[in-house]
Amino acid sequence: MAINWFKYSAPSSFYPLAGKMVPVFMTLAIVLTLGGLYWGFFQTPEVLSDQKQYYKIIYVHVSSAWMAMWLYVVMVAWAVLGLIFNTRVSYMMASATAVTGGIMTAISLWTGAFWGQTSWGTWWDWDPRMTTQLILLFLYIGYLALQSSIEDTRRSDRASAVLAMVGLAIVPVIYYSINCPNPNECASLHQESSLERVESNILIGMLVTTLGFWMYCFTVILMRVRNIILRRESHTSWVARLEEMQ
């Protein structure tokens, strides 16, 4: 049973499919996110003494940070698919992903600042990972700015795809250059990531919340891509025949 992916590459068949998937992902998003947060807030034993209550910020901070980075890769993947197969839906998915990616980066920076204020006492202290998030936000903004400044959808899709690819190629170099600005005594690149030293219950809370964020991103991206499809295909006959339009 070879799944015919190309059947869904046409906007007319992708639109109803996305419509059916949105409620599914939305319920999953609500269940997982609230479940993760509930687990993190109530089920974790008071391992840390009372005054360390602020660690609960990391659930949202870490989940949104991971999503911010993952969505950039997903965006470039859709862009590359679009360039190779020249399917319009892939380009639409790329631009839909970009907006949510930008929002996730903004959330991660916002919660990161609060996290910084509570644990290090400063709202912003140029921590390598946070700085990379900031630059990732600039890349998202650059992508969206380029896309909105080109009227011709065909050119804006493909031009922003090229920009996204160039961005992805340079992001690791940026991360490396921020992580060890002085190559002579470059600190161990791999700072202890937030996973190792975290107590297992908190870890579970974090992973479940991240899964919830994944579902949330699918929901929002699919909703946005449906809007994009409608706007771009408003003159086509299959849109006129949609039952919503009667």
């Binding site: 005054q51 602020y54 996290w115 408003s234």
Partner: protein
């Protein structure tokens, strides 16, 4: 309940950071839903305009 919100004195930080994030994540689907509705209305009007114009051409 009160100490739940106090969050060991860090209530302000925890809730404003989480609050804003979850609020934003709530806002986005609602905004998209409204956007969807307005696009549908726009297309319906467009269909009516075109069908009206095609009737004129025939008559």
């Amino acid at each position: 309940m009160k100490e739940f919100f106090a969050m060991g004195g860090y209530g302000f930080y925890v809730w404003s950071s989480m609050g804003f994030a979850l609020f934003l994540m709530l806002l986005e689907p609602i905004y998209l839903h409204m956007q969807h509705k307005s696009i549908v209305k726009h297309i319906q009007r467009q269909i009516r305009r075109e069908s009206a114009r095609s009737k004129e051409n025939q008559s």
